[in-house]
């Protein structure tokens, strides 16, 4: 399939001349003014070059260039200015806005084809390289996520879990963090940041690797002494993360993991551990993981207890039976609890199969 080039000029004669030149090699699309051009560019992802007149009715060429800059499209699509103007100030502005070359009227056809063809080829190679690099970065990030997930799963296995717990925590964290971010401007976060927090949440219990089996797998209530030992998994988790090679994971994910590891058992009223932090002294992501962790712990069977049904778990969380949480996080949790519960049921059914 041919790629498309867009010719933008209010005069049909000028458009036809260029169309004639390129019709064999490309699918030629024509626009009579800047507004039409922008609509066409937005609707067609296969446009690989734009030939743009500057002086046109409705919307001129400079406005088109400005808009292509604003949207970043100028970095992917070469724009050639076609003009009869010798106005140096205007041409300089066009170059400054990212135009790659000036094609003067009257056209010199033999030169135009070579000049435009060369630059299209250059952009094609550049865009391919950008795709390859983005693809590699994406693969690295996925590999990184998988490594983190595998590490967390190994720890969960020791805790007699299937590894599904960490995946559920990640899912709940992603959903709840997004909801909190959408509902409360003071907790607003970028999507990419939320994705990193989701990955980081997987390692929240990494410190459990340092807890003896006799406590970790005890099929009954822990004694106060045993509970004190259990509590150190938060601090031990940070020690383990601190000893990891620096480049084993994304640095941002590392920072979130460290914070979540240490503070996912803190509570809104300061009665959590290990530092007894209060309110928003605890980061919002650690607060979100805390709710996710408690919900999943309540609704999943453990060696020391059966699973609670989702309604009971929600009630227990709202009543503060597992410690107090940020009311705003709870409000977001209650807004989406049906969705979380449905996903939890689906996952449990899948596990049972």
């Amino acid at each position: 399939m041919k790629n498309s080039i867009l010719i933008v000029d209010d005069q049909e004669i000028n458009r036809v001349l260029l169309a004639e030149l390129f019709k064999e090699e490309y699918n030629v699309i024509e626009a009579e003014n800047g507004q039409q051009a922008l609509e066409i560019i937005n609707e067609n992802s296969d446009i690989i070059a734009v030939m743009l007149d500057l002086i046109m009715p409705v919307m001129d060429g400079m406005s088109v260039l400005t808009e292509l800059n604003r949207t970043g499209k100028i970095y992917h699509i070469p724009v050639f200015i076609i003009t009869a103007a010798e106005n140096m100030q205007m041409l300089t502005s066009a170059y400054n806005l990212g135009a790659v070359d000036i094609i003067s009227k009257p056209f010199r056809m033999c030169f135009i084809k070579a000049r435009i063809g060369n630059i299209i080829e250059l952009y094609r190679h550049r865009n391919e390289l950008v795709d390859i690099v983005n693809d590699s970065v994406d693969k690295m990030a996925k590999l990184n996520d998988k490594m983190v997930e595998t590490l967390a799963t190994l720890i969960e296995f020791r805790d007699c879990e299937s590894g599904e717990h960490v995946k559920r925590i990640k899912n709940i964290t992603l959903k709840l963090m997004t909801k909190v971010s959408d509902m409360f401007p003071e907790y607003r976060l970028e999507k990419t940041t939320i994705a990193k927090i989701g990955t980081a949440s997987i390692l929240h219990d990494v410190g459990k690797v340092a807890i003896p089996d006799s406590i970790l797998k005890k099929p009954g209530r822990l004694t106060p002494e045993e509970f004190e030992i259990m509590k150190i998994h938060t601090v031990k988790g940070c020690d383990i993360l601190a000893q990891m090679p620096e480049d084993i994971m994304d640095q941002e994910v590392y920072r979130y993991s460290y914070d979540i590891c240490r503070h996912h058992h803190e509570r809104w009223d300061g009665r959590g551990y290990p530092d007894g932090l209060k309110g928003d002294e605890v980061s919002i992501w650690a607060q979100v993981v805390a709710v996710a962790d408690v919900y999943d712990a309540l609704t999943s069977p453990r060696v020391y207890k059966a699973a609670f049904d989702t309604d009971t778990a929600i009630q227990m969380i709202n009543e503060g039976q597992c410690g107090l949480f940020n009311p705003k996080v709870l409000e977001a949790f209650n807004c989406m609890v049906d969705e979380i519960a449905r996903k939890h049921r689906e996952d449990s059914e899948a596990d049972a199969e």
Binding site: D10, I13, V16, L17, E20, A84, K105, F107
Partner: protein, 116 residues
């Protein structure tokens, strides 16, 4: 004799024009036949006379590009000069040049219309 030969007699550089249209004489003729409408849509002198020099310049600029691409050399030279005069503020000289251009422009238009 055909349209291309006829406009050559008035001064068009049809060798250059045919080269630009990749020796496609039918396409060249088809585009030449659009010129009268382009001239009608982009009048210059009425705007000069009414003092709307911005529109006069814009239309002269449009015609310069079109007649250049059609290789109508006498018109192209005059519109190029007129645009330069407008830009340097020499409006009276531009007006005088455009007045003198009207006759050769009329000849091109009449010649083209004969083939419509």
């Amino acid at each position: 004799m055909g349209l291309i030969e006829d406009i050559a007699l008035i001064g068009a550089d049809t060798v250059d024009g045919l080269t630009r249209f990749m020796d496609n004489s039918a396409l060249y003729e088809r585009m030449l036949k659009k010129l009268p409408q382009v001239i009608e849509d982009n009048p210059v002198m009425p705007f000069v006379r009414s003092g709307d020099l911005e529109t006069a310049l814009s239309n002269a600029h449009t015609l310069k590009g079109v007649v250049g691409n059609l290789s109508l050399t006498p018109l192209y030279n005059n519109y190029t000069e007129a645009v330069n005069l407008f830009r340097s503020g020499e409006t009276a000289k531009a007006e005088e040049l455009l007045e003198s251009t009207l006759e050769i422009q009329r000849q091109f238009v009449e010649c083209i219309k004969k083939y419509d």
